[in-house]
Amino acid sequence: MAQRRELMTGSTASLLLCLIGYQPMYGYQIIKELEKRSQGYFNLKEGTLYPALHRLERAGLIQGKWQVLPSGQQRKYYHLTDKGLSILVEKRSQWQDFLTAMNLIIQPAST
């Protein structure tokens, strides 16, 4: 569990950019979507999510927009900025290279 948390810490930003890249999302939706798409592997805590979202917003990678729902509730939807999109493309490529290299080491050599 501790190792998983360690891996998560370095990947949170990439995961959030990826998800928000699919469609604009609000915080609670991001957590549920992350859990669903990873089949329960990623279980991001709320206390981690919002600081991460705010960091990305301050860095200009995502932008939040408030929407008022018919119930009167306000939700902040985050969408990717152009800068966020270019960073996401870069990160996807980095992850692909990383996974390819890891697989070469982890997978047993074919006989």
Partner: protein, 307 residues
């Protein structure tokens, strides 16, 4: 859950509009999560407890969100350092000799403070606010030059009003964040140090113009040091680093004043100034704690009254 959000709010220390947004976002999230847990069959109490557990420690959440917002932009950094830079120029270029420049500076400081105060008290406002308090203090000192009898009468009326104004401004600043109050009061011991080194003669406060002229470049340098310290303060994210920068740079700048005045500032005065600096630094933190305890008691009393 409102208790949880209140606790986050108390620890956030952001400007009002950012604070409102953060709290609204967390509140909406809590409502969604609460509904999910209720639909899963949990009681209201269990659902509320689970929500709090999932969100985590209020202090940790608030601190991490604060750190996401705490680093000022380069524009804000420049604005915050500006009053110190302008005073540095005033002395380095000997503009202090012209009353016109002094009036321009005073006008600029007051206009900036009024603008910043009415526009959400942004981070860059607080160094300017510190300089805006100087005329209040200086006006009190100049009342001593009124004709005999009148000066003491004027001071007796002036001091309570001045203290009330200073207290109101300081408390408002502390409510925003005690660190900003320290930033606001930061140059005061340095200015007092220079004043004591320059002041000569038995009658207070006779300024030695020659000394002021001699020390002007070093006065400018000390204000430049303050500008650098404030710039670092604005750019740093972590709160403990901001505290360290203010404390260390304040003590170093005081040391600079003692060194460049070549013994004019005696050791006892220097030590008193260090104590004044530490006092001005720590007192806002203690006052904030007291204000929060008071607010907490009022909040608890309201909660038990509703129950």
């Amino acid at each position: 859950m409102s208790h949880y959000l209140d606790s986050v709010r108390h620890n956030l220390r952001l400007d009002l509009s950012s604070e409102r947004e953060v709290i609204t976002e967390l509140e909406t999230h809590i409502e969604d999560r609460f509904q999910e847990l209720r639909e899963a069959g949990l009681s209201e109490e269990e659902a509320a407890k689970n929500c709090e557990k999932l969100l985590g420690s209020t202090k940790l959440v608030a601190r991490q969100i604060y750190e996401a917002h705490s680093q000022g932009t380069w524009g804000q950094t420049l604005l915050a350092s500006m009053p110190h830079l302008l005073f540095a120029l005033l002395f380095a270029l000997n503009w202090w000799q012209g009353i016109g420049w002094l009036l321009v500076m005073l006008g600029l400081v007051l206009a900036t403070v009024i603008y910043g105060w009415c526009h959400g008290k942004p981070t860059w406002l607080f160094p300017w606010l510190g300089y805006s308090l100087l005329p209040v203090v200086t006006a009190g000192l100049f009342l001593l030059f009124l004709p005999k009898g009148w000066s003491w009468l004027a001071i007796l009326i002036y001091i309570p009003l001045a203290l009330l104004l200073l207290y109101a401004i300081i408390v408002q600043t502390i409510k925003r964040d005690w660190l900003y109050s320290s930033v606001m009061l930061f140059p005061l011991p340095i200015i007092i140090g220079w004043f004591l080194a320059i002041e000569s003669g038995e009658r207070f406060p006779e300024l030695s113009m020659q000394r002021l002229n001699d020390f002007a470049p070093w006065i400018g340098l000390s204000f430049l040091a303050l500008a650098l310290a404030v710039a670092m303060f604005i750019r740093l994210r972590k709160r403990w680093l901001k505290v360290a920068v203010l404390l260390i740079s304040g003590l170093l700048t005081l040391g600079m004043v003692a060194y460049y005045t070549k013994g004019m500032l005696g050791l006892p005065a220097f030590l008193v100034l260090i104590l004044v600096m530490l006092g001005l630094f720590l007192t806002p933190a203690l006052v904030e704690r007291k204000i929060r305890r008071g607010d907490q008691r009022v909040s608890d009393a309201k909660g038990s009254h509703c129950n």
